[in-house]
C-alpha cells in the first residue's frame, strides 16, 4: 500500500509541476483568453483521465489487498461455477415428443439383437425419451451427475432408467494436470456419439451400428481414467474397467468383466475449422445377452414385444412351408438365432471415429458444416441359444396327449461384423440446418443368408429457435433384408433449466 501512496503522491506532484510550468510558460508569452481557456480545458481533461486511471488502480489494488489480507491463497470470486441456486445442484429437464409414420408395420434388424433403447419409436403421436439431470460440484475435488431417462412405449408402464450416476474428479483434486477419473455409471468414452445424450444428436435416431452393437449407448457401471497429454495438438489416452452388464455384454459374474482403451487426437486447420479422430476398443463377456434384456428392464424378454416377434416367426415359417422348416432351420434361420437368440461368449468391439467442423464465416452460429463418421468392427465368438416350442405326443392321433415344452437349440458362432455411418450436417441459416446420413451393417455371418446388408438413409431439416429448443423433421429409408421401410418423423426437443455446455 505504501508504494501506491507514494506513486499517487508523485503523480500529483508531477501534475502540479506541470500546471505551474504551463502557467509560467503562459506568463512569458501573454496569451489570448481563447488560448488560455483551451489550455485550461486540455489540462482539465488530462487531469481527469489521469485521475480516472489512478482511481482505477487504487480500486483494483484495494480489492487485491483485501483478498490477500483475508486469505493467504488469493481468493477470486468464481464466475463460472453453478449459480442461481448456490448450493442446490443444477437441474435440467429435456422434453421430447414426436409424431411418426412408417410404411412397414414391423421393424427389427435381421441378424442383430435389437434392444429396447434402439427400437423404432412408436408410430403416431408419442413421447420420446425425457430426461432429468441433477449435477453439481460435490466439493473442491469432485463433481457429481445424476441422470434419469424416462422411456415411454405404447402399452407399457413408463420405463425409468438410471442413465448416469457418476462422480468425477475436478482439476482441484490434486491429480496431475490433465488426468481425470470418473466412476459410477456413465456414457463412457467410445466413439463419438456414445458420450452424448440422444437429445444432443443431429438426427432423431441413432445410426445402425449404435443400435445393433450398443443398444443405443454403452453406459455400464465402472470407472474410467483419462489423460490429456501436454502438447500443441490435443491428444488424450485412457481406459476403463466395467462390470460387463450393459450391451454388448450381459450377466456379469465377477462384476469386472469388461475393459476399454482409447486414444484421441485433434486440432485446428486455420482458424475456422477443427478436427478430431479417435480409436477405441471395448472388450468383455456376455452371458445370455438378448435384445432388450441386457439392462435390467422392468419386464423380461419373454413378454411384451418379444411375443409379437415370436408370432411373426411362426407366420413366416408357414409361408415358407411348414414341412421344410425343420430341415432348413440349420442354416436358413441363422439370422433368427442372431436376432432372437441369447448370446453367451466373448465380445470385442473396435471403433474409429472422426469429426470435422468448418465455419465458413468463423461464426459457427451463422453457418457451419459438420462431417462425422464412425466405423465399428465386432468380433464375437460363443453360442447363440434359441428356445423353440416342441410338441410331444404319446398318441399321435390324440391331440390331448400332447405336451408342449421348450427346447434350447444352440448354434455356435465365431465371426465378425462391421458397421459404419457417415453424416453431413450444414447450418445454412442461423436457425436452420439440413443433414444427411448413411449407415450400414454387414451381416455377422455369411451363412445367415440375408439377401442384402441392412442399411439406412436419413435426411433431416431442423429449426433451432434458441439453444434450448429445436424442432426437427426427418425422413428415413431403412432397408432390411431387401424390405424398405419409409419413415417420417417430426420431433421437438426442448430443455428447461441448466443446460450443460457442449463438447466438440
Amino acid at each position: 500500500m505504501h508504494k501506491i501512496v507514494r506513486f499517487v503522491r508523485a503523480t500529483v506532484i508531477g501534475l502540479s509541476v506541470l500546471v505551474i510550468a504551463s502557467v509560467v510558460h503562459s506568463q512569458s508569452n501573454p496569451p489570448t483568453t481563447e488560448e488560455l481557456a483551451a489550455q485550461i480545458s486540455a489540462l482539465k481533461q488530462d487531469y481527469e483521465s489521469r485521475i480516472a486511471v489512478l482511481e482505477a488502480q487504487l480500486a483494483s489494488l484495494k480489492a487485491e489487498s483485501l483478498s490477500t489480507e483475508t486469505k493467504a491463497v488469493p481468493a477470486v470470486r468464481p464466475s463460472l461455477s453453478n449459480r442461481g441456486n448456490s448450493f442446490n445442484p443444477a437441474i435440467g429437464i429435456v422434453l421430447n415428443g414426436m409424431v411418426s409414420e412408417y410404411s412397414e408395420e414391423q421393424s427389427g434388424i435381421p441378424g442383430f439383437q435389437i434392444g429396447h433403447e434402439s427400437e423404432r419409436p412408436d408410430e403416431g403421436l408419442s413421447l420420446g425419451h425425457s430426461e432429468l439431470t441433477l449435477s453439481s460440484n460435490i466439493d473442491d475435488k469432485f463433481y457429481g451427475n445424476f441422470t434419469l431417462g424416462f422411456g415411454v412405449h405404447a402399452g407399457e408402464p413408463t420405463e425409468v432408467e438410471l442413465e448416469e450416476a457418476y462422480i468425477q474428479t475436478l482439476p482441484g483434486a490434486g491429480l496431475p494436470d490433465g488426468l481425470r477419473v470418473k466412476a459410477g455409471r456413465a456414457l463412457w468414452t467410445f466413439g463419438y456419439l456414445n458420450e452424448l445424450h440422444t437429445h444432443e444428436d443431429d438426427f432423431t435416431d441413432r445410426p445402425l451400428p449404435y443400435r445393433a452393437y450398443l443398444d443405443g449407448a454403452y453406459n455400464d457401471d465402472g470407472m474410467e481414467v483419462s489423460l490429456v497429454l501436454p502438447g500443441n495438438l490435443y491428444g488424450e489416452v485412457g481406459g476403463g474397467i466395467f462390470r460387463g452388464g450393459d450391451t454388448p455384454f450381459a450377466g456379469s459374474r465377477s462384476g469386472r468383466e469388461a475393459w476399454s482403451a482409447f486414444a484421441r487426437l485433434g486440432g485446428d486447420i486455420g482458424s475456422n475449422s477443427a478436427w478430431r479422430i479417435g480409436g477405441y476398443i471395448l472388450d468383455g463377456e456376455a452371458r445370455n445377452r438378448s435384445g432388450g434384456a441386457a439392462h435390467a428392464h422392468a419386464e423380461d424378454d419373454g413378454h411384451g414385444h418379444g411375443e409379437e416377434e415370436h408370432e411373426e416367426e411362426e407366420h413366416e415359417e408357414e409361408e415358407h412351408g411348414h414341412d421344410e422348416a425343420g430341415e432348413e432351420g440349420e442354416h436358413g434361420d441363422l439370422a433368427e438365432f442372431l436376432s432372437d437368440g441369447s448370446f453367451t461368449g466373448d465380445s470385442r468391439l473396435y471403433g474409429i471415429d472422426f469429426r470435422y467442423t468448418w465455419a465458413p464465416t468463423g461464426n459457427a452460429r451463422d453457418r457451419e458444416l459438420i462431417l462425422q463418421g464412425e466405423y465399428f468392427w465386432r468380433d464375437e465368438s460363443g453360442d447363440y441359444v434359441l428356445q423353440e416350442e416342441h410338441e410331444e405326443c404319446t398318441d399321435p392321433n390324440d391331440h390331448s396327449t400332447c405336451e408342449v415344452h421348450m427346447e434350447d437349440i444352440t448354434e455356435s458362432l465365431s465371426g465378425d461384423s462391421q458397421g459404419w455411418y457417415a453424416q453431413a450436417v450444414y447450418r445454412f441459416l442461423p436457425h436452420w440446418r439440413v443433414g444427411a446420413r448413411y449407415s450400414h451393417l454387414s451381416s455377422p455371418d455369411d451363412d445367415a443368408e440375408l439377401d442384402d446388408d441392412p442399411y439406412a438413409l436419413s435426411t433431416m431439416i431442423d429449426w433451432t429457435n434458441s439453444e434450448f429448443s429445436r424442432i426437427r423433421f426427418q425422413y428415413n429409408r431403412e432397408s432390411f433384408n431387401g424390405e424398405d421401410d419409409d419413415q417420417f418423423m417430426l420431433q421437438y426437443i426442448m430443455s428447461i433449466g441448466a443446460h450443460g455446455a457442449h463438447s466438440f
Binding site: 488502480q57 468464481p78 442461481g84 485433434g266 477443427a274 434458441s466 457442449h502
Partner: protein, 306 residues
C-alpha cells in the same frame, strides 16, 4: 503385449513432460477474447506466449469447445477471459477437460475481467424468455478504457505471483502501459467531447460499456431480446423511434447479423457503422490503442456527415 508397452510409455511421458516444462519457459496465457490477448502482450511482452481462443470477427458467445483449445488449457498458466457467463457455452468444458489446476477458479492463473470491474446491465428479472441474459451483468467490459487499466493491474500482479523471477519486467511493462494509456485516454476524452449526446441505435447490448464511457445516447436496440433475432413488430417500433429522433448512426459489431441494420438503413437512410468491437476485427486495429482510436474515428466520420 506391445500395445500395453506403448500405452505405458505414453502414460509415463505424459506424467514426466509437464515436470520438465517449468523453470524459465515463457508463461502461457490463454485469452478467451482478442482484447485480453492484446493486454497480455502489453504486460507480458517476450516473457509470455499468448493465444486467443476467439478471433476478431468471432462472436465469443458461440464458439465450439474445439480439441485444440483443450490442448491450450492443458498447458496454460493463465486463463484470461471476460467472465460473467460470456463463455459459459464452451469454457467450462475446456477447463474440465484440460484439467489444468492453476487456471481453475480461485487459483492465480484464473482471471475473469467481470470479477474486477463494475458491471452494467445487471438484470432484475432472470428468465429464459428474455433471451441470452447474463445474471452477473453485461460481460463486454473491455469497451470502457477505464476497465482496461484495472485489468492491466490485475494481470501484472497475477503474472508476478505465478512467475516471481520476472516480476521486475512485468512491473516495468505495466508502468509503461499505464502511462501510455493515460496519455491516450486524455486524447480520447478530448475527442469524445464532440460526440457526447450523439444518438445511436445499436444492434445488441454489446455496446453498453462504450456508450456509458463515451456519453453516446442509445435510442433503441435492434434485438429486443438479446441473442434472439429482432422481430418484425419490434423493428417497426425501432423504425418509429429512429424517425422521431435525431439518430445519427446504427452501430453494429462485425459478428452481428447484417439484415436488421441494413433494413433500417433502407427505410431511414441512417448510416450503418461497423465498429471494430475488438482487436483484429478491423485491418487497422492491431492493439488496444488502435481499437479506441479507430472506434472514435469512425464515430467522428458519422458525426461530420451533413
Amino acid at each position: 503385449m506391445k500395445t500395453w508397452h506403448a500405452a505405458l510409455l505414453v502414460m509415463t511421458l505424459g506424467a514426466i513432460l509437464p515436470l520438465s516444462a517449468v523453470a524459465q519457459e515463457p508463461i502461457r496465457v490463454l485469452a478467451c477474447e482478442p482484447e485480453w490477448a492484446a493486454l497480455a502482450e502489453e504486460i507480458g511482452g517476450n516473457d509470455v506466449i499468448v493465444h486467443s481462443a476467439t478471433q476478431g470477427r468471432q462472436d465469443a458467445h458461440h464458439i465450439r469447445a474445439r480439441p485444440s483449445l483443450i490442448a491450450k488449457v492443458r498447458l496454460a498458466d493463465v486463463l484470461f477471459c471476460s467472465g460473467a457467463e460470456l463463455e459459459v457455452g464452451w469454457l467450462p468444458v475446456l477447463m474440465q477437460r484440460g484439467a489444468r489446476r492453476i487456471v481453475q477458479p480461485g487459483q492465480p492463473g484464473h482471471i475473469m475481467a467481470a470479477d474486477h470491474v463494475e458491471m452494467l446491465d445487471r438484470p432484475e428479472v432472470i428468465d429464459r424468455s428474455l433471451g441470452d441474459i447474463h445474471p452477473d451483468g453485461n460481460p463486454h467490459v473491455h469497451l470502457d478504457p477505464r476497465n482496461i487499466v484495472i485489468l492491466a493491474d490485475v494481470l501484472a500482479s497475477r503474472l508476478e505471483r505465478i512467475d516471481p523471477s520476472r516480476s521486475g519486467a512485468y512491473r516495468e511493462r505495466l508502468a509503461s502501459f499505464q502511462s501510455r494509456w493515460a496519455d491516450a485516454m486524455t486524447g480520447w476524452q478530448k475527442r469524445m467531447e464532440r460526440l457526447r449526446g450523439m444518438e445511436v441505435i445499436v444492434h445488441h447490448k454489446a455496446w453498453s460499456y462504450l456508450l456509458h464511457w463515451s456519453g453516446l445516447e442509445r435510442v433503441a436496440s435492434l434485438e429486443r431480446v438479446s441473442g434472439i433475432p429482432p422481430t418484425a413488430s419490434h423493428l417497426a417500433q425501432v423504425f418509429e423511434l429512429a424517425r422521431n429522433s435525431g439518430t445519427k448512426a446504427i452501430i453494429r459489431a462485425p459478428f452481428e447479423p447484417v439484415d436488421a441494420s441494413d433494413w433500417l438503413f433502407g427505410k431511414t437512410a441512417i448510416p450503418v457503422v461497423e465498429l471494430p468491437f475488438t482487436v483484429g476485427a478491423h485491418p487497422e486495429v492491431r492493439d488496444l490503442f488502435s481499437l479506441f482510436d479507430v472506434t472514435l474515428t469512425l464515430l467522428e466520420e458519422i458525426k461530420d456527415r451533413p
